[in-house]
Amino acid sequence: MSEYLVDIQNLRLSFFTPAGEVKALNDVSIQMKQGDVLGIVGESGSGKSVTAYSLMGLVPEPGRILSGSIIFNGHRIHEMSEKELRQIRGNEISIIFQDPMTSLNPVFTIGNQIEEVILLHTDKNRKEARERAEELLSLVGINEPKKRLRQYPHELSGGMRQRVMIAIALACEPKLLIADEPTTALDVTIQAQILELMNELKEKIGMSIIMITHDLGVVASMCEKIAVMYAGKIVEYGTAEEIFYNPQHEYTKGLLLSIPKLTATEHEKLIPIEGTPVDMLMPPQGCPFAPRCQNTMKICLKEMPPYTDINEDHYSACWLLQKQAYMTMKDGVAR
């Protein structure tokens, strides 16, 4: 068995839409150890959700995995049948979605929905399941859990619903929790509550988390490792410190410069990334970021850049880094 909890290797995934093939994931590799908190950032359509969903074997039609492997906790996800996957989902790996309004079933009580998971994956009986559900609700900070169990989703506020979603996700103490924009639909003060809750639970249960978001503030406060995605490719990967203080890819640099900072004491003009996001139906040849990059070279337009290791825990796919590496090497030889 590998030392990694999550081991995605060279995953290629495409959606075959009527308009043509959309290469949603283009050679994506991710490794995570038990207890890691990984943030995946990127704009809409960059493939961050698809990466995480594929880990659960959730590849919606008309998507297909073309090559690569997905290994989670020793399971070869990409080779498993739907029936086998169902044993894992909600048990060893679970997910919370962006929109707590639509991801709960409106016609069942909160209690029903939490118990369902427990009854399905453990040999607890109905009574024990109810007790466990109550315990879970107090774990996620919901007052009067007994009363709440009998309520329907519409009776709860957005923040409460997201807490219920987390309770459902944690019901079987999963090894990995995928959080897909868990706070995007919530207000700032509620977002702070949920983030704090997730941090606490991580400590308590010791699970790994994959946090998918476009909010750099959220990753900075939650994640140890960060993967920056652009057009279906991880363009940079590193620790939070490396990504924020020593960004190497032009897209990461641009992203950091383009967000207004609350703590800035002077008015600094934002430096936007020019151009528009990639049309995934017609991605450019070469580096997908090249059309928006300030320092495009000829080779960027022709060939996809390989990964350059910056240090042990930090790599990035950019031709500029290759050039630098080449220059220093050449200098070394000349001397």
Binding site: E43, S44, S157, G159, M160, D187, V188, T189, I190, Q191, A192, Q193, L195, E196, H214, D215, L216, G217, V218, V219, A220, S221, A240, E241, F244, G254, L255, L256, L257, S258, I259, P260, K261, L262, T263, A264, T265, H267, K269, L270, I271, P272, I273, E274, T276, P277
Partner: protein, 321 residues
């Protein structure tokens, strides 16, 4: 600087489904809000969903009719007048660039509609020329005029929305969450464009957003709303660094900063509970149910919105002790 817009005791109530036949209930979306905006200034409005910031923005330009209060624009009371002449001066850019453009109109017609209504172009050729100038002004080009909204990305659609607002050469624009639906890398483009247009054309903005970082970046002054009330109003630096109201303090501290070290060191004030229903707001100070400084007086008396430092208004019984 002269005052361009003054809002006095503005109220906007929406009728709500009543629980009994004769007892009519109202949702007090905006309840007694007063502020003024100077010419060339940007006033930011922040608050959580349902706090009434968008309603305030729409009522100010009378897309909603105010229930009570006064709106004074450029020295004239516009609370009850025919708005047509004022629509040339006051415009709005909406939040959702996908829903606010008619999918069956070409971009040229969307931008040109206002030109037609106000008869700003005597001939067809002039109309066309005007549309092209406007599109170029917002970073699009003449070729885009014959296309339909669905052919554009979110950022480009927001540019179309801005071109439409600029078509009548306005003085004042309500920007209702104009960047929240956009990707981070595109947000900066639009924010910068708002700033450039302001410098160039001397525009005045009422900038509404829930993202305090964005609002602070673009605004001269910021007003914070909670459950239909303005709870604090101050210069944007004063408000982010020396806020007085406990709600503003928690709002500022709750924002995740994009800096790992700083975010580890930051003291977060996490508010308990949820925003109460605006149909049944708490008595006295509306924030008291979530406030940790709340005492008896907060439940009994509504705090007055008063100036405690020069230009710094706040509504709280305890913040100045």
């Amino acid at each position: 600087m002269t005052t361009l817009l003054e809002v006095k005791n503005l109220k906007k109530y929406f009728p709500a489904a009543s629980n009994t036949l004769f007892n009519k209930r109202f949702l007090k979306a905006v309840d007694d809000v007063s502020f003024s905006i100077k010419k060339g200034e940007t006033l930011g409005l922040v608050g959580e969903s349902g706090c009434g910031k968008t309603t305030t923005g729409k009522t100010v330009i009378r897309l909603y009719e105010p229930t009570a209060g006064q709106i004074i624009y450029d020295g004239k009371d516009i609370t009850k007048v025919n708005m047509l002449p004022y629509r040339r001066k006051m415009q709005i850019v909406f939040q959702d660039p996908y829903a606010s453009l008619d999918p069956r109109m070409t971009v040229g017609d969307i931008v040109g509609e206002a030109i037609d209504i106000h008869n700003l172009a005597p001939s067809n050729a002039e109309r066309k020329e005007k549309i092209i100038t406007l599109l170029e002004h917002v970073g699009l080009n003449s070729e885009h005029a014959n296309r339909f909204p669905h052919e554009f990305s979110g950022g480009q659609r927001q540019r179309i929305g801005i071109a439409r607002a600029l078509a009548v050469d306005p003085e004042f624009i309500v920007c209702d969450e104009p960047v929240s639906a956009l990707d981070v890398s595109i947000q900066a483009q639009i924010i910068n464009m708002f700033e450039e247009l302001q410098e160039e054309m001397g525009l005045t903005y009422l900038f509404i957003a829930h993202d305090l970082s964005v609002v602070k970046h673009i605004s001269n002054r910021i007003g914070v709303m909670y459950l239909g009330k303005l709870v604090e109003l101050a210069d944007s630096y004063e408000l982010t660094f020396h806020s007085l109201h406990p709600y503003t303090k928690s709002l500022v501290s709750a924002i995740p900063v994009p800096d790992p070290k700083e975010s580890r060191e930051r003291q977060r004030i996490v508010l308990e509970g949820d925003v109460p229903s605006p149909l049944d707001p708490p008595s006295g100070c509306r924030f008291r149910t979530r406030c940790r400084y709340a005492t008896k007086i907060c439940a009994e008396e509504e705090p007055e919105f008063k100036e405690v430092r020069s230009g710094h208004f706040v509504a709280c019984h305890h913040c100045c002790e």
